[in-house]
Assembly symmetry: C2
Homo-oligomer: 131 residues x 2
Amino acid sequence: MCRHANLVFFVRFIFSPALFDNFRNMIASTPTPPYYAVIFTSVRTEGDNGYEEMSERMVQLAQQQPGYLGHESARQDIGITVSYWESLDAIKKWKMNAEHLLAQKEGKKQWYARYKVRICFVERDYEFDNE
Amino acid sequence: MCRHANLVFFVRFIFSPALFDNFRNMIASTPTPPYYAVIFTSVRTEGDNGYEEMSERMVQLAQQQPGYLGHESARQDIGITVSYWESLDAIKKWKMNAEHLLAQKEGKKQWYARYKVRICFVERDYEFDNE
């Protein structure tokens, strides 16, 4: 058996259509505008300190909120997370969610060196798909 | 001389306050709202094919446009680039810029598997800085 079998499998997996479709789906399938977006841009502190766990929990929790439409996230030097919402009221209720309030407090205490939040009204959208 | 001198220098550089400040500055210093945001979320095709060079050129070019206020960018599985503008007219003129039109055409032809563009009115913002 080829000694690189595991590597070949891994590379095939990485470039498989299935995984590619996962990335494809990571663009939020939002409804026709208008709706709202919250752009959260952040610089992390060093070390994890429970950040990843909290981050996953907040995504789970946000998805259960009334008026949640989807989210998109990427971190390279800075992190950008955009969440999409039906109304300003839905955004306000999510901001005031008890568990989310705790995460915001910890965020200021240990996870973030800096962040900026922008509340936006999405007026128009368009998309491209090469399939 | 320590054989790990280069490594030590590199690690010091990576965690240096100077570099950290660069990340800090990668959150766009936008003026008090209202203003506009264009959220560009994308899935890349495989390979570079001139993408990085075009991407840097487009940032340079956007910065020269009237009404440009700043931009933020991160790519992990998906890419998110948010550019900020004074008005819808400024966004429209940037979209119709001749060199940008060529890049958009090439983008559909070879660089992007999928993308979504959302035009937003930024109503409100707030920020946190632990300094």
